[in-house]
Amino acid sequence: MNAPDRYERFVVPEGTKKVSYERDTKIINAASFTIEREEHTIGNIIRMQLHRDENVLFAGYKLPHPLQYKIIVRIHTTSQSSPMQAYNQAINDLDRELDHLKNAFEAEMVKFSRDY
């Protein structure tokens, strides 16, 4: 009866930003990114990629509530970097990894169909 529409889970409402950024008021080089309509899939890969960055002191994500379709990614970096820089780089690196994976799988498919 009053169940929310199913598409609410993955369609960003009009007038809402996909990603919003909020600096920490007390700690320098710390910030939170609120990502609308995303969940563990994106949150966890970004977190793990950030952990590979040696300038990142802390990176974590949370899904605050199962009925609030958003995640919060929190990043704290050294003064050599900034949360925004680390965030952008994590996305670029993941994008590159997936590009490589796609090429590797396509090459392997060609090899597989030839060999077997």
């Binding site: 889970r9 925004m84 994008d95 997936l98």
Partner: protein
């Protein structure tokens, strides 16, 4: 501004590849990527499925919504899905099924005129688009028939409803693009699993201190066939490391026999073995490629927008000013 890259270069090795099944190794990456791929394959790779049904005549034993639900669950060939539009994003139409960009129309007309029961199946559905049709399982069904001797219905196809003499079903259905997150009928995946590759080391010295009887007892303590005793040398060997289910039974057994450390088993944190099975809507290999593409699109969508960066730059200057910079 651009720092050094922390991107990894994963490796892939295909073990088995059929239209609806794939088994491959993924190495040099971590569980987050493996799990993201699994989640995207199950819930976010789009397919086409019946979403709207207009029933004109239904005198069958099943009620209208029962039939509509069954129609929705029929897998349709969805190679076009990636390039199609979601009907909610389609501005060329109002989602009435006449739009070539976002929907496909189906018709079903069946009347039983004989004394025998008539099966209405997915192969009775008439599609308006020859690229989007119910998945044909007759080939795979034929191989099952041959091996098991089980006879399916001769026509093939998925049974929707059975009619007796005089009963009739007549309807129009509209199939749309969708994702598994919305409704499981849109999921192209039957199963997607991955496991860590196990690394098994037997302590040979300790193993040789066991008698043949003890070795047999230990090998048999594993619920899955991981180890075997060589007939000639009577040594315990690993025959199928991947059969190990991380159940710890052999480790507990070794301890119970007073031989802790007899075997050491580690899950390699950067190697995964994937099993992908599809419903037939798309090929298993295509499912992985589409999943990578979708994941890339998702990453692109979560990039910071220009105005967010600008707003922060101003804030940064203000902050620096306040700190006396």
């Amino acid at each position: 501004m651009e720092g050094q890259s922390y991107a990894r270069m994963p490796r892939v090795k295909i073990r088995e590849l059929r239209d609806d099944y794939a088994r491959f190794e993924l190495r040099d990456t971590d569980a987050s990527i493996a799990n993201a791929l699994r989640r995207v394959m199950i819930a976010e790779v789009p397919t086409i499925a019946i979403d709207l049904v207009e029933i004109e005549v239904n005198s069958s034993v099943l009620n209208d919504e029962f039939i509509a639900h069954r129609l929705g669950l029929i897998p349709l060939t969805s190679d076009r899905a990636m390039s199609m539009r979601f009907s909610r994003d389609c501005d060329a139409c109002d989602g009435d099924g006449q739009c070539e960009f976002c929907s496909v129309e189906f018709h079903l007309m069946a009347v039983c005129r004989n004394d025998e029961t008539q099966d209405v199946t997915s192969s009775d559905l008439i599609s308006s688009d020859h690229t989007v049709v119910p998945v044909d399982y007759s080939e795979s069904a034929a191989s099952i028939d041959a091996s098991d001797g089980i006879s399916g219905n001769k026509k093939g196809g998925i049974t929707i409803v059975k009619l007796r003499k005089g009963q009739e079903v007549k309807l129009r259905a509209i199939a749309r693009k969708g994702i598994g997150k919305d409704h499981a009928k849109w999921s192209p995946a039957a199963t997607v699993t991955f496991m860590y590759e196990p690394e098994i080391h037997i302590n040979e010295d300790l193993m040789e201190s066991l008698t043949l009887e003890e070795k047999k007892e230990w090998v048999e303590s594993s619920p899955t066939p991981v180890f075997e005793i060589d007939q000639v040398t009577q040594q315990v060997m690993v025959v199928d490391a991947e059969a190990y289910t991380y159940d710890d039974e052999v480790i507990k057994k070794a301890e119970a026999m007073g031989k802790p450390g007899l075997v050491e088993i580690n899950a390699k944190q950067d190697s995964f073995i994937f099993t992908v099975e599809t419903t037939g809507a798309i090929k298993a290999s295509q499912l992985l490629l589409n999943a990578i593409e979708i994941l890339k699109q998702k990453l692109d969508a979560v990039r910071l927008s220009e105005d967010t960066v600008e707003a922060d730059d101003q804030f940064g200057e203000l902050g620096a000013h306040m700190r006396g910079g």
